[in-house]
C-alpha cells in the first residue's frame, strides 16, 4: 500500500516537474553534478558532465601515461561490464576522468580507448580544464599529488553514481577481480 502510494506520488511529482517548461528538476543537494565541470572527451567533444544525468555512471580518475595502476582501473571497469547482462550494460555509462589534462589530449585518450577496446557507446574518457581537477577529485574522494617527473601519486577508486549523480558506492579494489559487494550495488542501481 505504502509502496504504491509512493509510486503514485512520485509519478504525480514527475509529471508536475517535467511539465514545467521542460526544465530539468533541480539536482539533489548531494549530487556530484552540483559541481560545474566541463570535460573534453576522446572525440574532442566538449560537454558539461551533467549531460550524464539520467543514467547511472561508473566514474574513476586516471591518466593515460600511468603504467602501473591505471590499466587496473580500466580492468575494473571492464570487469563490471562483463559481469552484467546485456540489458544491464545498456543502462550504465562508464566515465574515466583524467587528472593530467595537460597531457591527456583527445588523441591520447582515444589511443587508450582503442588499445583497450572501450566501446564509445558506454565509455567516455575525458579531461577537465586544469584548474578543475582538484575539485572533481574532491567530490569523488580521490587524492593525488603531481611528482616532479610529471607522474602522479594517487588513490584509486571506482565510484558508482545514480542517475542523479549521487554516490551510492565506491570500491578501491582495482583489477579484474571484482569487489562482489560493489557489483551487487551496481546491479541494484540498474534495475529499471
Amino acid at each position: 500500500m505504502r509502496t504504491s502510494f509512493g509510486l503514485f506520488a512520485g509519478l504525480l511529482l514527475s509529471i508536475a516537474t517535467s511539465s514545467a517548461a521542460g526544465a530539468p528538476p533541480p539536482l539533489p543537494a548531494d549530487s556530484v553534478y552540483q559541481l560545474e565541470l566541463t570535460l573534453i572527451d576522446q572525440h574532442g567533444k566538449r560537454w558539461d558532465w551533467r549531460s550524464k544525468r539520467g543514467k547511472p555512471q561508473l566514474v574513476a580518475m586516471f591518466y593515460t601515461s600511468c603504467a602501473y595502476i591505471c590499466p587496473l582501473i580500466v580492468d575494473s571497469g571492464k570487469a563490471v561490464e562483463h559481469a552484467l547482462t546485456a540489458a544491464e550494460r545498456e543502462r550504465l555509462g562508464i566515465l574515466l576522468i583524467s587528472m593530467d589534462p595537460a597531457r591527456d589530449t583527445p588523441a591520447a585518450l582515444q589511443s587508450v580507448a582503442v588499445k583497450r577496446k572501450l566501446t564509445p557507446v558506454r565509455w567516455s574518457l575525458a579531461s577537465p580544464v586544469p584548474d578543475q581537477v582538484r575539485s572533481v577529485a574532491a567530490v569523488l574522494g580521490v587524492r593525488y599529488r603531481v611528482q616532479p617527473d610529471g607522474e602522479f601519486n594517487h588513490t584509486s577508486a571506482l565510484v558508482l553514481l545514480d542517475a542523479e549523480g549521487r554516490i551510492l558506492a565506491r570500491t578501491e579494489q582495482m583489477g579484474s577481480k571484482l569487489d562482489p559487494e560493489f557489483l551487487v550495488q551496481v546491479r541494484r542501481t540498474l534495475v529499471p
Partner: protein, 270 residues
C-alpha cells in the same frame, strides 16, 4: 608507537571537540581586519615533508598572501553576495552539516562567532569559492609552509629550539578556549600574521598530502593504497607543528569542517 605519533593522535582528538565552549573571552567589538595582501619574495625552500621522488629543495615563486586569516565578518559579506554558500542553502556535496553551525543564524554573527574572529567550520569547497570571488586562490601547502617558517626577524626560524617551543605551546593549550581575534599576534618578517597560534588553515592542495595510514598510526602497512612512488614521510621528525598540520589536512575530505580550521587566500604577483 613512537611518542611523536601519540602526540599527533592526541592533538587530532582534541580537534574534535574544539570550540565547544563558545567565545566568552573574545573581544566583542567588531574589528575591520586589514584584508590586504603582502608580497612574499620567491626562494629556495626545504620542506619538512619527505618524498622519495623529491630530494632537492623546492623553488617557491614569489606570491601574495593575506595578512590574516579570513574573519567571520569578511565571510559573512561573501555569503550575502553569494547566497548559495549560506549554511541553509549550500549543497551538501560541498559542505557537511556542521558548516557555519556556530553562527546564530545563516546571516548573522554573535555568541560563538564574533566578527573579528577567524571564520571556522568552513569546507575546502567554500574556502575555494571565497578566494575565487576575490580573484584569488588558496595557497599551496608549500607556499603556506614557506610563509610559516618565518618568525619576526628571520625567513627561516625552524632550526631555533626557542621558536619551535613557542609554536608548540599553542598546540598544548586546550582547544575549548574561544578563538582570539585575527591580527593580534605580531607580524612575521614578511608581514604575515597568525600563521601559528590561532587556527589551522586549508591549502589548495590539501588532498595531495598522502600520508599512508602506517605513517599516521604506526600500525599495519597500507602502502598499496597509493599508486606510484611511496607516500610522504616527515623529513624533520622534530617539527611537530608541521607534522600535526599535515596529519590533519591529510585526514580531511573537501566537504569537512572543524571548529578550528579556517583559511586565508593567496594570489600570484600582479
Amino acid at each position: 608507537m613512537r611518542p611523536s605519533a601519540v602526540f599527533v593522535l592526541l592533538m587530532l582528538l582534541a580537534l574534535g571537540d574544539a570550540h565547544a565552549a563558545g567565545a566568552k573571552t573574545a573581544d566583542a567589538k567588531a574589528v575591520d581586519v586589514d584584508t590586504n595582501y603582502v608580497s612574499l619574495p620567491g626562494g629556495q625552500f626545504r620542506t619538512a615533508l619527505k618524498y622519495d621522488d623529491e630530494t632537492r629543495p623546492l623553488r617557491i615563486p614569489a606570491f601574495q598572501l593575506m595578512r590574516t586569516p579570513v574573519t567571520n565578518l569578511q565571510y559573512l559579506a561573501f555569503v550575502r553576495k553569494q547566497p548559495q554558500w549560506r549554511r541553509d542553502r549550500v549543497a551538501e556535496v560541498f559542505a557537511e552539516s556542521r558548516y557555519l553551525s556556530h553562527w546564530p543564524a545563516p546571516l548573522s554573527l554573535g555568541g560563538t562567532s564574533l566578527p573579528g574572529q577567524p571564520v571556522v567550520q568552513v569546507s575546502w569547497f567554500a574556502a575555494q569559492a571565497y578566494c575565487a570571488a576575490q580573484g584569488a586562490r588558496l595557497p599551496t601547502w608549500s607556499e603556506w609552509e614557506y610563509a610559516a617558517a618565518a618568525d619576526e626577524t628571520r625567513r627561516d626560524a625552524r632550526k631555533d629550539p626557542a621558536w619551535r617551543e613557542r609554536i608548540l605551546s599553542w598546540y598544548s593549550k586546550p582547544s575549548r578556549q574561544a578563538l582570539a581575534r585575527a591580527g593580534l599576534q605580531g607580524p612575521n618578517v614578511y608581514g604575515v600574521q597568525d600563521l601559528h597560534g590561532l587556527v589551522w588553515e586549508w591549502t589548495e592542495d590539501f588532498s595531495s598530502l598522502l600520508v599512508s595510514s602506517d605513517d599516521r598510526s604506526q600500525g599495519s602497512a597500507d602502502t598499496a593504497k597509493f599508486c606510484g612512488a611511496g607516500a610522504l614521510a616527515m623529513d624533520d621528525r622534530e617539527n611537530y607543528a608541521v607534522l600535526m598540520r599535515v596529519a590533519m589536512l591529510s585526514s580531511l575530505e573537501g566537504r569537512d569542517t572543524t571548529g578550528n580550521l579556517g583559511f586565508r587566500c593567496a594570489r600570484d604577483l600582479p
